[in-house]
């Protein structure tokens, strides 16, 4: 279990060094995406204005406050509370995010599926698990919202965040097919019979 600090954007080589169980702290930039953002990017033919090559995206839909545009809030939004949503719903977008936009890290909660695992291996990507439901803490890692795209989808816009010491995040799926969720799933399957037997149910 190694601790890494990575400045964004990152390279394929940096990604391939990460192993499931390592922890990562991100610096500089992060992009927020969600269901509707990706439905519009990949099903409705809208193109994101940001260059996401080598970047990290986080499955989020923040609570924001509209404020007058200023140097500190150039997009006219102040962050109120920024957290993470369940990743599984967005499983089918991992591949196009990597293939079409060059994204290298997906941050979320609860894990992703087999197609994402294959895409991480093929293109060099990782899934970083954040602790879902700890948004108050997570918000303190975000310096400010610097830009926004697909703004009509609020709160499911494509957000650009300036970050400061974002993490620790847990490498839950790596670029070599490794996944922390596999072990947990196997343990649960192994213990199912025991759990049922404790209640007098045979399986």
């Amino acid at each position: 279990m190694t601790e890494h600090t990575i400045h964004m954007p990152c390279t394929e080589e940096q990604i391939r060094e990460l192993k499931a169980g390592d922890t990562v702290i991100l610096e500089d930039w992060l992009y927020g995406i969600r269901d509707a953002t990706q439905i519009h990017m990949f099903d409705k033919g809208r193109k994101a204005k940001f260059d996401l090559n080598g970047h990290a995206v986080i499955h989020t839909a923040p609570n924001v406050k509209k404020v007058p545009k200023s140097n500190f809030c150039p997009a006219g939004y102040e962050s109120v509370c920024i957290g993470t949503t369940t990743s599984q719903r967005m499983e089918r977008f991992t591949r196009p995010l990597m293939q079409e936009y060059g994204v290298r890290m997906v941050i979320g909660k609860g894990g992703l599926g087999e197609d994402s695992r294959a895409a991480f291996k093929e293109f060099g990507g990782v899934y970083l698990a954040i602790i879902g439901g700890t948004a108050a803490l997570e918000t303190t890692w975000i310096e400010r919202i610097t830009d926004v795209d697909l703004e009509d989808l609020n709160p499911e816009c494509l957000w650009e965040f300036k970050i400061n010491h974002f993490g620790p995040l847990l490498v839950a799926m790596d670029a070599h097919g490794g996944s922390l969720y596999d072990g947990v799933k196997k343990t649960a399957e192994d213990r199912r019979a025991e759990a049922l037997a404790s209640m007098g149910v045979s399986s």
Partner: protein, 291 residues
Amino acid sequence: MKLDLAAVEETAKHLYIQALKILPPDIKDGFKRLDATETDPTAKSILATMIKNIDVAEDTTNLLCQDTGIPIYNILIGRGVEVDGHALKEAIRKGCERATTEHPLRSSVVHPITRVNEQTSCGIKVPVITIDFSDKDEFFEMEMIPKGSGSENGSFLKMCIPAEGVAGIKTFVVDKVMEVGGRVCPPTIVGVGVGGTSDLCTKLAKKAGARPLGSVCEDPEGAKLEKELSAAVNMLGIGPQGLGGDSTAFAVHVETAATHITMNPVAVNIMCHSARRARATFTPKGVEIGF
């Protein structure tokens, strides 16, 4: 007692915001209890982060979780309370809307077909308002629950048949907890409804999931079942966030209702670790806000 609807509106607003920021004491105690018994180091550090988040949210008066949820208001009306039912619902809706626009909060509510978000946390039949009656004199209670989608998506119903017996119910609960894994933000409160019709069964599961930790099912058979299930689901090793450990659920709660001779329904509704809840009681002495 004549209910002051302006106070109801203000309280509906206040409870939504309070629920999003401060966890009830029984849930905080639940965290302490899990932290004391957890043996897995990753799980322990995740629990520590969750506990830290509770403190940071209070210190910075920020939301515990970004998911403002689907707003639910459970109303209990005692005897001798004078209120215009329709106006009561309108006042709650207005309070919910004002919490969203005035705080401001992220509106997480959309039309089910067009997916259009009115940015008010309101829509057709939302906020969800349930109304029940109590035998207490001059008493009115409002419970507010912002139900997060990660855990609400962990909702299931199975119309078991009588031949499957209680074993069918137990197996269903264990299998659903396994299936949802980390998606529902464990440690959770697993709400289980047993009996009734399909809709009542689902309602019971929701009620069970929202019950304070430490409370016990009033039906002794349900109480026995929830004890067995609580121990069983925590044997699975799913752990906080589904990343392994002993702390899969704070508890399993069961609520029961009579059912038909040919039916054996079971429903599951999960409450995530951000088990948010706020409550206000109105009596002739005034309004009291709590959990």
